[in-house]
Amino acid sequence: MPVGLTDIVQNLVNGLLQGGFLALASVGLSLIYGVQKILNIAHGAFIVIAAFVTIDFSILLTPVLHLDPLISIVLDFGVLIVFGVLTYFGLIYKTENKGFEGPLLATFGLSIFIEYVITNGLIFPITISPTQSYRLVLIPVIDPSYGNGAIAQNQAYSSNVLNLGGITFPEPQLIAFLLAFLTIPLLHLFLTRTYYGNGIRATAQDWEAAEFSGIDIRKTRILSFALGSGLAGIAGGIYAFTNSVFATEADVSLLPLILAIIILGGVGSVIGTLIAGLVVGLLISGSNFLALEVLTQYSFPSDIGVLLTFLIFLIVLMVRPSGFFGKVVK
């Protein structure tokens, strides 16, 4: 298939846009892992929660209040911060000092729990007598499609496409990209220019030294977990626009790619995560393009982009585990 310059540029653009979203999804976990060395397996689940909050917002509130669904992204941020704090106190606080496995297991259970509640709600049937039974609804079903399939989010945005010189920029992906470039530098400023931000970075580097310097470690950990969750919320909010969301994605499927991005960018640096996200996005779409459209004679497998990414990830992990921009750790 003959390949033109337009195709190549289009492919690069797609890769960059996708990379922006990946960076947004990863930066929250980078923060959490950097400070507390906890792998929040439920991070993907958090993203999906936010996606469904946005979907419900646009189904329930937009027709009534005529508010743009993009505003729900702010709501997502807030909801996930609350959720992050709850998770921290519920699961992490007790387990984080007892080794690596405790939070891992707990967040894994949480991700399964979240997937279930999104699809089915937290509803208990109570049978009082053979003829009377009630249902105790603690949390209503969030997924409007009841797990039967995805809802293509908000048609008004998904069909908008910006066209510049023959290259198409799908509007939702563009918004995701711009959001990444808005939030991540803001986060970077927060981490470097504010007291609490510096506290987070200090705790990430050496928590004992930070404690001796007078930083409240517990508050810092809560803050970083909440902030990381909130960022997952933002990613989830825009995810609802760029993809059809399945509740079953609340499990761990997004996690390996996010982990690769975090490590490649360097655990201590959010700008690094942004760049790593963009690079990975480019790598995946570029190598898929090369393998499937240009070099078709070799019949490469279909997910060669992911293969290359993980291969590079492993090599970087072994050679320079602090990533491209992280602080070198002994």
Binding site: L91, G102, L104, L105, A106, F108, G109, P301, D303, M318
Partner: protein, 322 residues
């Protein structure tokens, strides 16, 4: 207590109980009756998970290497087994050859030992995703099945599984009793101290990974016999990588009974509860709450917490006598 010199240390009671359990399980086909042998098929999946959990415990529990990529070996075992079955090899040799392939794969993965513990966990997590395209490329197909002509005798299949499970459990027990086991425990406790004492850490880690990979691949080969056909998407399924780890963590990392208990508990809730809560997926809720509960309340796992409780009771009793 029952130390006949065969099982020499503190694991005595558990080892005998397990042996008894296996013997009883071996007698089940006789009680079920000749016409109901297919009912045995429900339980063989437990054997797979127990074997996988034991394999994970060897690396993660005793040697201290948290391997989150054991699904790679498992899936590889499925693939190899399918290829061999299609070539006319019978099931037990197929399982053994699959195990050998797993061992070779483990040898190929030894460079990852350079990684620090949490990076090792992350690094191993992505290994199944690396293997998937490679398998698809070299095998030129993505569906692997048990050939149609082959009918696996349910009773024989059941006993094969029991054998696989039993050999794994007691093989690992004997391994841990040997000098290799002592070295492994030392490495798990403190790698640098062991190295300073002259233990060849790299060699023992390699041995552990190879044995663990062998077992996991054999389990995968057996699994193909259970479900009949796999697609390469099994490499993408993180459950096979993560569940064995979680089973062992719940049961108790680094203990003898931990993997067995954890695997049985996990499987019972997953497979058994489905029957109880039919019509809804309520058992998923129970499952997730159970996991979170164990993680927060029993962070060391069930067995170590039980042991602490029992020894505290014993101490209390003996101090009461004074």
């Amino acid at each position: 207590m029952f130390g006949l010199g065969l099982f020499k240390s503190s694991h005595n009671n558990s080892a005998w109980v397990t042996l008894l359990g296996l013997v009883l399980a071996g007698l089940v086909p006789f009680f079920v009756g000749a016409s109901n042998q297919n009912a045995l098929g429900q339980y063989v999946i437990y054997l797979v998970w127990i074997t996988l959990a034991e394999s994970w415990n060897l690396l993660g529990g005793y040697a201290g290497l948290i391997n989150l990529g054991i699904g790679a070996f498992f899936s590889m075992g499925c693939v190899v087994s399918s290829v061999l079955l299609n070539l006319g090899v019978s099931i037990i040799p197929a399982m053994l050859v699959a195990g050998l392939v797993g061992a070779i794969l483990a040898l190929a993965l030894t460079p990852t030992f350079r990684l620090r513990s949490d990076y090792f966990a992350i690094g191993t997590l992505v290994i199944p995703f690396l293997l998937k395209p490679l398998v698809e490329y070299f095998a030129k197909k993505s569906n692997f099945d048990v050939p149609i002509g082959i009918v696996l005798n349910p009773t024989l299949f059941y006993y094969t599984g029991l054998g696989m499970c039993g050999i794994t459990i007691f093989g690992i027990l004997l391994l841990m009793r040997s000098r290799i086991g002592m070295a492994l425990r030392g490495i798990g406790d403190d790698e640098y101290a062991s190295s300073a004492l002259g233990v060849n850490v790299l060699m023992f880690k390699t041995i552990t990974l190879v044995v663990s990979g062998f077992i996991a691949s054999v389990a995968g080969a057996y699994y193909l016999g259970i479900i009949g056909a796999v697609n390469t998407t099994i490499f993408d399924n993180l459950s096979f990588s993560l569940f064995p780890a979680f089973m062992v963590i719940i049961g108790g990392i680094g203990t003898f009974e931990g993997p067995i208990l954890g695997a049985i508990l996990f499987s019972a809730v997953s497979y058994g509860a489905v029957v109880y809560f039919q019509g809804t997926s309520f058992e998923v809720l129970v499952f997730s709450i159970m996991i979170m509960f164990v993680a927060v309340v029993l962070p060391k796992g069930i067995i170590p917490t039980l042991r602490k409780y029992i020894s505290r009771r014993k101490r209390k009793d003996s101090s009461d006598k004074n």
